[in-house]
Symmetry: D2
Subunit: 298 residues, 4 copies
């Protein structure tokens, strides 16, 4: 019997990089937050403090900036793969694998009286595009995603038919507000993908499904969104969702002789429902390791 | 010599209201956060705990929801005025004045394969539209605004010519990233305003000026934005800004033989520059009272 | 009629400084966040972008670190005064005044098997000690304070006797939870103060009053806290509070045949009551300028 | 080949409960945040929107409050077990398992002139005590923990001996500030534990180890903390840590002729190092399922 080091991983988190493509006067800005982590044969530093094998987290940070200069920045998927391949390489035999997580914040061009501006931008949307790339030896897994895509339906949502068990008091409804903040992550089967096109298509599919489905439960909505993504994208193995049910409560105005035909709502903060589920193909491997460390999805 | 009650104000903060206009199948959603406060002859509760004059903060909350039902919800300016007029009224002689602060979060319709959806929405942008209405007796002041309008210029910004004083080490630059999160508030001279049109025009003017001006300092950019707003809007008395200088530092890649022609930047969190200033007409009264309580603007 | 620059102020915000006093093996750690701002004759940079008068915000940041080295760090009040005196000085004729705001985070020594450790520390408490020093020419004002001092009484709080007006539905209670997050700021009449002793005494007085008073309203509690501070501290001119009423609602368990004798509560997030008030001596000048820019207190 | 529902879980998140034990005039306050989730045979609601099996999330919320009344509240571990046993029960055949996650916020009694107060409390510390209980059929796993335990050593930390690889520029140091925010979770081998005593002992051991160890890397410190916990607690199977390296950079004051003998530091926000690792007994089963859903630990 003894005490041993278990699973471990280390690196530099939240390296904030803004890349400006100035190859034409019409600049392109890419705004990302990179977390680089390595795993492998690093037990010595845990046991003795010997850092002879440790690629310093500061070096991982420098590598983000250097690779952005040497290879530019197109998509977060491509960049994360490039980072992972840089570190999981024969010159670093101690590195068994790398995990590269990137968030991207979107910007629009400023609309001016003379049209969209060449080099002035305004932050767009609350949502964040994400990727987690894991390279374990020669095996690469890309999980694309987004978080904080906040959506709401002002009608077209019911909730009823649930059992009356101990402590049930909820009243059934055939017309409620349905609101959630979509966090979704999807695992690609390969790496030869047009990442931007794929992301745009998945996002559009999810929004379309959310809007079009008459909802009987948030679970049903979630599954339909996932199913539609998998149907349209044979290169995607599975998609996982974490969706809070952001409750909106109809305000009771009857004490003052007022009706409230689903017009005036209180948007609650906490508690909230929370639905977490995966939609997957039945003929793909699970690959749970690639999901490790993704909060809400592992 | 004695100890006395000074300036005071009380109410209910952050009443979350979502109003759905269902008058046609094409719903309109308005998502706001209302803070209602009253001031006047309320010393008794401070001195003795007697609440005989106190309009309960819970009642102020209820009033938000009731007025949204009885009068609907068009703009935050109109609603804040309606709230203030409800409370500053002869039936409540103890109420000397009211302060109504509202934040509004914007939503777009979801784009579906069949076009913009009637009742499905997606949160738009990171910015918040704001209003603070103060009604003091019969005097009403409306201060419209926005916060968290995050903008960035990838070129067209210089900073040099500052004095070399003790502890100066900053290097002059003729090409830097200029980024800020605009918080702006502007005071109207009256209340007979097309609030939505006015807001849209002021926002567009600010963005246009930010984009178009070749910047020699964030102060210069700020002033030009304010001046343009006042020039275009005779009904606006003054505009105040609080603008952080969100520093982006060019990464030094020379240790590895790499140049960096303004392409790879580190976006810093803290510290940040902070410019706070008002641009005002020279023939209007100051009306500082209306600005009381607006964080960053008083 | 014209458009002119109004009140303005600029500087560097949130300079994070950790100072370690290593004069003995028993280290003393001081952890602060400094915001330095200047005002005066800086119109040129707004109007023309000429920075000839502008003491760069980067220089203000450097000054924080340099003064921490040359003069050490005892209290935030002393350091803020030193910063203000550095900049409001004949060598900088353009500087009319300075505003120095500092937050301090507290640390305890780690308790080990061998007693409190010499150089290992653990963050203590959620509250933040604050100061705002304004030096305008030769006039100095020191406003000490604290934020996020979260307190709760599980009994000894009533709320009743409020008028039944339109939209009132709140039920009177003679036993509720009273909870708030105290933000308080107090203005000293001079600068010859034992700052640490004064702070500790004011904090203790506020806590004692909050605990001991049988509350009939949060307003009454607030006033009693302020009155006690002024009674005990002749050197303090006034004290201002911003206190949210963090509502705890008794859960109705009667649908399941359960009583709830004030034991099971739901702690709500929003909305919350908000009480803002000053308690002041009646024979001191108002000095409102010193309060400018303090969110929630101006 | 088909599309199927994968792993899923649903419930109510962040049910805020404050429990007051009023059995004596010396009240005891327990302040917690409960997230209740169920898994099992719930595919129907995903596929068809039929909720016939769905124990409403609202019911799960009610159960939190009801069980707090019927059984009181001692420790979060006991309460989470009680919640799990309530739902994983023959009367709910559709429930295969439950996951109950609770955060607890600590309060101290207010010190008054008359001693610690019976019913007035002040929030203590920034850290949060946590538990995740999983009951899968009859198998129960308890993972206790804490987050946001922020600690700092002002000396006694070195970092050197790392390899000079591509893009390395970090300078070696034999005296730096070491600061981190400890998040730790430990899995118990059983459920017959004095939970409060166990928690206090583990916390004290971690703090003692952090303080006493001369650190050669944060990894070494982490491992020593974990090893000490396992050595002292035979009932704990494994402990996992997520520890950011909160960098403090020595400020270079040499441009102004000032030295800086490790006294004046800049506390950086981002990026930060991130060390994640488990320390485990070599003769216990892995039980990875119990860690699912714990952000940073799975």
């Amino acid at each position: 019997m003894g005490i041993v080091l278990g699973t471990n991983r280390y690196g530099k988190a939240e390296v904030r990089l803004v890349h400006v493509d100035r190859s034409t006067p019409r600049h392109v800005v890419t705004d990302v937050n990179v977390t680089s982590q390595l795993f492998g044969d690093f037990a010595d530093t845990f046991h003795t403090g010997s850092n002879a094998a440790v690629i310093a987290t500061d070096t991982q940070k420098n590598t983000v900036y250097a690779l952005a200069r040497t290879g530019g920045f197109t998509t977060i998927e491509e960049f994360a793969l490039r980072m992972a391949r840089h570190f999981v390489d024969p010159r670093y035999p101690q590195v068994g694998g790398a995990r590269q997580e990137i968030e991207q914040y979107s910007w629009d061009r400023v609309d001016t009286a003379d049209g969209p501006h060449d080099h002035a931008f305004v932050r767009a949307g609350t949502e964040t595009r994400t990727v987690v790339v894991t390279r374990h030896g020669d095996t690469e897994t890309v999980i694309s995603g987004l978080t904080d895509l906040v959506v709401l339906k002002s009608t077209g949502s019911e909730f009823h038919g649930f059992p009356q068990v101990e402590y049930t008091s909820l009243v059934e409804t055939d017309d409620r507000i349905l609101a959630t903040s979509v966090s979704a992550r999807w695992r690609h089967l390969g790496t030869d993908v047009d990442w931007d096109a794929s992301f745009a298509a998945v996002r559009a599919t999810m929004l379309d499904r959310f809007a079009q489905i008459h909802s009987l439960s948030l679970q049903q909505t979630l599954y339909a969104m996932g199913e539609a993504v998998l149907e349209a994208h044979p290169g995607i193995a599975e998609i996982r969702f974490s969706m809070p049910n952001k409750h909106h409560f109809l305000v009771d105005l009857s004490p003052w002789g007022l009706d409230n035909p689903n017009e005036v709502w209180f948007a609650a903060d906490r508690p909230y429902g929370l639905i977490e589920a995966a939609v997957t193909r039945d003929d793909v491997s699970a690959d749970d390791g690639a999901w490790a460390g993704i909060a809400g999805f592992c």
